[in-house]
Amino acid sequence: MTTASALRTWSAIGGVAALAILGEVLIAAAMRRLGDLDHLRTKPGMLGYLGPIRAILSSPVFLIGAFCMAFNFFAMLYVLSIVDLSLAAPAIASLTYIGNAIAAKLFLGENVDRRRWLAVLFVCIGVILISH
């Protein structure tokens, strides 16, 4: 692999992972702000779910996050056309996991303790091994 193509491969992988992290953190922030969806239910039964659905769809943070996830989906298709699935899938998954944990700590104020860092590390190695 030449330096130029390696650069292109890894910037594509990094870009897709960054989009995924942005989308997941925005969606998580929106959901955290809304709180337990059960409390938003207007009445029992299926119709009661209209309350939470309306609350979610009127959250701009959620909409931007969902847009990032949709864009991420198409960017992923592009990456798969230039990079092997066996490299792209585990690389994007691991980068997204690490990035999510860092972003959750920095921007969502989550208490990422030692056991959660360990879990992130284990998941990354596990994902790489499973797609081996």
């Binding site: 709180g35 989550e110 879990a119 499973i130 081996h132």
Partner: protein, 146 residues
Amino acid sequence: MKHALKPSQYLILIAVMLTASVGDTLLSRGMAQVGAVDFQHLHLLWVALFNPFVISGIILLIGFFASYMTALSWADLTFVMPATAFGYVVLALLSRFWLHEHLSLYRWGGIALIVCAVGFVAGGPSRTEHPEEHHELGRMDSGAGR
């Protein structure tokens, strides 16, 4: 246990684990039947919408998104993340016991690591409590915004 999830919340987490992996499998099986889609054959996307595997895959993925967001409404992102990773384990076990594919030692090792990761996180609290969240009502009443 430092956190107390209700049985319904455990069900949501199990739905997060199962729907993503099974939905992805159904989609890829359906799309394999439909054939390769490129710019010359965009009409195949329309054909795909009538494939039973694609339809059930889409329904499961909508279910995944709904249960994932529900989980995020009462749990931390870093708490829910290992549950989504568990989907890889479900996929590997499905291919082993349903499709009777051979799993290499590497893949068994990966399964073990992800199971451990779920165990670590499940043993801790599900949500970081921010003290200011409890005072939001009081702040709104006094009109003292930040």
